[in-house]
Symmetry: D2
Amino acid sequence: MSEDKLKLNDDKTGFLRKRGILERLDAGEVVIGDGGFVFALEKRGYVRAGPWTPEVNVEHPSAVRELHREFLRAGSDVMQTFTFYASDDKLANRGNSAVEIGCQAINQAACDIAFEIANEGDALVCGGVSQTPAYLSGKGKESCQSEFERQIEIFLKNDVDFLLAEKFMAPFLNATGKATAVSLCIGPQGDMHGIPTGECAVRLAHAGADIIGINCHFGPDECVEACRLMKKALDAAGIQKHLMVQPLGYLTPDASKQGFIDLPEFPFALEPRILTRWDCHKFARDAYNAGIRYIGGCCGVEPYHIRAVAEELAKERGKLPSASEKHGPWGEGLKLHTKPWVRARARREYWENLKPSSGRPFSCSLSRSDNWGVTAGDRYLLQKRENTTNEEMEDVIRFAELNKQAVIGDH
Amino acid sequence: MSEDKLKLNDDKTGFLRKRGILERLDAGEVVIGDGGFVFALEKRGYVRAGPWTPEVNVEHPSAVRELHREFLRAGSDVMQTFTFYASDDKLANRGNSAVEIGCQAINQAACDIAFEIANEGDALVCGGVSQTPAYLSGKGKESCQSEFERQIEIFLKNDVDFLLAEKFMAPFLNATGKATAVSLCIGPQGDMHGIPTGECAVRLAHAGADIIGINCHFGPDECVEACRLMKKALDAAGIQKHLMVQPLGYLTPDASKQGFIDLPEFPFALEPRILTRWDCHKFARDAYNAGIRYIGGCCGVEPYHIRAVAEELAKERGKLPSASEKHGPWGEGLKLHTKPWVRARARREYWENLKPSSGRPFSCSLSRSDNWGVTAGDRYLLQKRENTTNEEMEDVIRFAELNKQAVIGDH
Amino acid sequence: MSEDKLKLNDDKTGFLRKRGILERLDAGEVVIGDGGFVFALEKRGYVRAGPWTPEVNVEHPSAVRELHREFLRAGSDVMQTFTFYASDDKLANRGNSAVEIGCQAINQAACDIAFEIANEGDALVCGGVSQTPAYLSGKGKESCQSEFERQIEIFLKNDVDFLLAEKFMAPFLNATGKATAVSLCIGPQGDMHGIPTGECAVRLAHAGADIIGINCHFGPDECVEACRLMKKALDAAGIQKHLMVQPLGYLTPDASKQGFIDLPEFPFALEPRILTRWDCHKFARDAYNAGIRYIGGCCGVEPYHIRAVAEELAKERGKLPSASEKHGPWGEGLKLHTKPWVRARARREYWENLKPSSGRPFSCSLSRSDNWGVTAGDRYLLQKRENTTNEEMEDVIRFAELNKQAVIGDH
Amino acid sequence: MSEDKLKLNDDKTGFLRKRGILERLDAGEVVIGDGGFVFALEKRGYVRAGPWTPEVNVEHPSAVRELHREFLRAGSDVMQTFTFYASDDKLANRGNSAVEIGCQAINQAACDIAFEIANEGDALVCGGVSQTPAYLSGKGKESCQSEFERQIEIFLKNDVDFLLAEKFMAPFLNATGKATAVSLCIGPQGDMHGIPTGECAVRLAHAGADIIGINCHFGPDECVEACRLMKKALDAAGIQKHLMVQPLGYLTPDASKQGFIDLPEFPFALEPRILTRWDCHKFARDAYNAGIRYIGGCCGVEPYHIRAVAEELAKERGKLPSASEKHGPWGEGLKLHTKPWVRARARREYWENLKPSSGRPFSCSLSRSDNWGVTAGDRYLLQKRENTTNEEMEDVIRFAELNKQAVIGDH
């Protein structure tokens, strides 16, 4: 363990090793995760929507650094390396040129940045192992193994605090000796193979995960509900594991089983669904009440959302985050506003009861999901290195139109 | 003029002075402004909502620098110094401690950052002169004069390219010899004193403004409409001036005369109103068609919104912005998505026709504005150095409740 | 004057002639009109949407009689003969076979029924003179004259209490010696020829109308606002006339100049816009406060809507209608409900503050109007006796699709 | 069997007894029920909302007669006597004076009217046995028996074609020798005692019901789904029974287990939820596809809704109803409209795809239900002969406010 991962605890008199993720969770502490790098950096101009690959770590490290710092200031206890979709097969998919930089260079740059900012505070570094398109293409677990190993090699070399991965990777992680978190992108309806959400959790526990949870694909309500189902099933099986939840920064009451990707607004018209900070207060309280202690965010969750989580749980954590210096709880800063009717909004009951209007009277409140019903192995899901052709585009557009007909005649 | 404000023009063989704002507009070019610093940096944890003062320039310059750079990459031709509300009386209002840093230190730091990033590209630096609460408190123009002079002194010392200010400051600006833009925070209904929007433009022209326009308080539709009224009145008066428009990044069809500040969602629940990038395409085209050539954004406008403006006007400008490297026009990047139904969305007609749902079935589409009907000089608008007291809070809350009763019984 | 139009006034000691419409209005009394026969009887299965002609008077008199009786019980002081669109050219338009019954037979049957029910109470009979398609076909006033004369002949023969007609008929009516009401189907934006709403009222006054007002095409808010504009213009011209308002039973905040006909929901999907009885309370109060004393309804206004008007104005009128025997004010009957949470709704403040949800999360709150911009004389408006051909249908559908494209790209 | 219940079948050469309900259903025919009398006659001014008792049969028989006739013309094959809530204990509840007329006089008048109109066509008469408040008051089945017997006595005396009742009455009905339909006011979530919907159907089958189904409390989607669950359970149990469905004329996607009574709009602000005729086309097709052959409506279903059901199933039934003389399928009558853009709407694809707007931008699309969670036996549900007192009203209002607090903080 190198010196730069040591840090002076404020209330102690010397350099001390940071307390690890399990140490914190075992002590019953709330651990706050960070938010979504892919979507935030897409809006800032550094990540391309579609491939969503994280070459920005190498191309514009200061942009990644600044976002990490914002989350740290907002209260995040964990800096997750921005290594989503940094598997070599994804970096090469459908003409993506990021493969020229390559998985290992990206992961190393991501580790460098994450450690630098983590050490501006008391945060831990988590190595985020990415899924690979080889899986969706139906190539099976074996052919995915080398993709994982190349990623993990860098995390181990940098001695990250713990690893975070998806379902079927759990066995690989166990061999590393690191604490492991496994988080699923599913909702309360279970996974794409028909396995109920609770049963998924039990299987992950048996596969050796230390922390089990839900992230992405659904908004806070659905994710917390999914975690509740996990907890219930784990309790019923007599298993005790830490729970984590990192939902979208979007409301998705209308998402079907596959989550927000199927909503017609994904990914470029999700704005009306963005959570307010008050939605995050509610989320943090709901998650806490459900027994979840690792609480963060995924796509769409911005620093101010994480700050809201930290402010809601300030009492439980015994502290406010740095960024609260610029944010009174429940809008208190508005007491300094020049307009009196805005000063009248500087109170909890105002914001807690407000149902925000959309300003979009020609839009609906809910959407019908695309439901193509194709799963791993389907021809439409095969990944490839060549660009998408015009013929392929015409084919999928035609299929999409057909699907749309099916819901015609709805109210 | 110091060397760091010179720059190599791509098509020439030596160092050349950047072409000024009027030179560009006189040549019929589209000039793209930047977006909103106050709201973006509030969400990133550096600016306090309520006072909204820009001490972040001194406290966390890297955060301001990064945001400038994002706008530059998104296509902004102008770096406006982040000096909003940096007048000493505002920095001291109602207990704000930013007055200890002071207007001039903040403005100097803001200039340093703006010039640094402007010179990473071909952007100009605009000095943003801030309004002062002295005005709302009814102290009159004279007592405001020293507040303005302290601000402008720094801009002149740094030799900014041009100045941007509000209505009644126009006379002060003329004396500086700089090109001047004057932009009003009003909509199509005219100003708070009952002067029609078009007439406001004619008065500004007579007061010597080179560029006249509209910013903040309303979304794109209302701001472009207000500019149309300005153009019509200027044309009728036989005056030719450049027009600028920098609307909110929010939809505000329901805002009353005072704009979004009166909407109940201001400022902490505006999320469902956030523009999509496609709303910005429409805005850019509408503004261009209305004859406006200085097109940017205000509060809520993020870098990806500005990129959308630049992409919509790529043909007119003969170029795409740097950040488009990570963004195909009209969602083309989605051709690289793993899911076929998302690949089917990689086309203009999909996004242009989509009306995004809010995911909020328990919310409305429009809101009723607070309409206190108080104006400059009213006791409720008096500013002061002391914190807002509990008695004052109770008073404004009571008044707000009374106002709410008035719209009860609506459909 | 025949005996059957005499009636015992409750507070007098003998048979007395009913007091006429002007007598009542001159005395400052509130006169309550009836509601919409066309739409109500369409839903009951007796009137055909499209032609909208009133042959039901001859074919199923009991259905008309029952609806008149419901309005009488609900508080209507006037039984307007159901003679809308009973001009011979309309009865023959585009293959309509009702011309075989003919205008005069229909009007006679309508008079018979109206007098029968009026005499079950203290109601007056109003002869409704119908517009003719000859006008829209651009045939001019002269060619319309005989259409009017055939209608009016029956009303005079039956000695109706007063006549109600549209704009350009006013001169014909004056010659009859009857009191005349002239009501326009316009909103606050003025008529299709660009004449402001207020100016229309002044012209009607000069043409000799005794009662001037607004009906159909818009909901209560727009109709009352239009009447306000009329009153303002009449006051400015020093003219004193009685005002009448008979709005739709639908909310139409999004209707453009031509009103609800242009809304895409017209006429078969207007349900979500139907007024609640509480909307009618508000309407009645607004109308009364605007100085209007003849208050009724048009298409979509059902008996319970009229009862709500009568209940809101019970104090001003000194009485409740018969149908209130089965309706406590402001939901008082709910005190007898079996479920306690419904009993808790038996109070004014509950219903007055409720904003009713649509149960339609996949619908919008507002619509874009069809705006073909064609007016009298346009080839698309020519009427004819033959059925609409398939070619004509394809033509109008194509034109409608083109129009729809125009609003694409809206938010 | 008296002569007036015989009728000439069109395809036979003499007087023949009408074919009974089971004869029709056994032959695989679609039987169309009628709609909702309580809500329709409330709006027409003859029934009081709250007690909802049917004394109108005696007080204003022509109003009931006219509504029956409208349903007959719209295609109803069954005239259900309007005897809802005509049990003597309900007629006396909380000060209701209808008890002075009494259950048996009301039922006799209702039978007279139903037979009269049924014999204007080929319709059957169904005796509707009403639930009694004695049940909700927790008095048990025994104390309810005499209430039922007094009702049924009249139906048997008049020799109705079949009886329709609620769950626990099934045993009483069997003894009558009449065909029996038993319909539950539940949705897909099962009954208030936790019994799943499918299981309810199996129990009704065992109790001897000939026709089993769902009515009231929910809109078409939920009712058809509930019937699907019933069919699935009956199939699994190897039981074959006829299914019936008679949903509300309102959309209730947001209703909780107790249905629309718990929605805040019940009963005076349900307008925005009213079905369009096109919603009814969809309902009829869904119900038919689910294997249901007795298809009608309950509260809120008006004659034109039933006509839409009959028009959708015209091919299956081999005929159109009389009222279709005044209604072309899918809006064909609009071909006779004067305005060309309305003529362009005379086609199925226009109406089938239209999502109607509410015209209510300050309302939501969904509501939160009141969920008091009280059931039979709770003190709040006790019925009594005295009027509700002010103290009781204050108590329930207080409880309602408390309940409302519970959902505060929702998105």
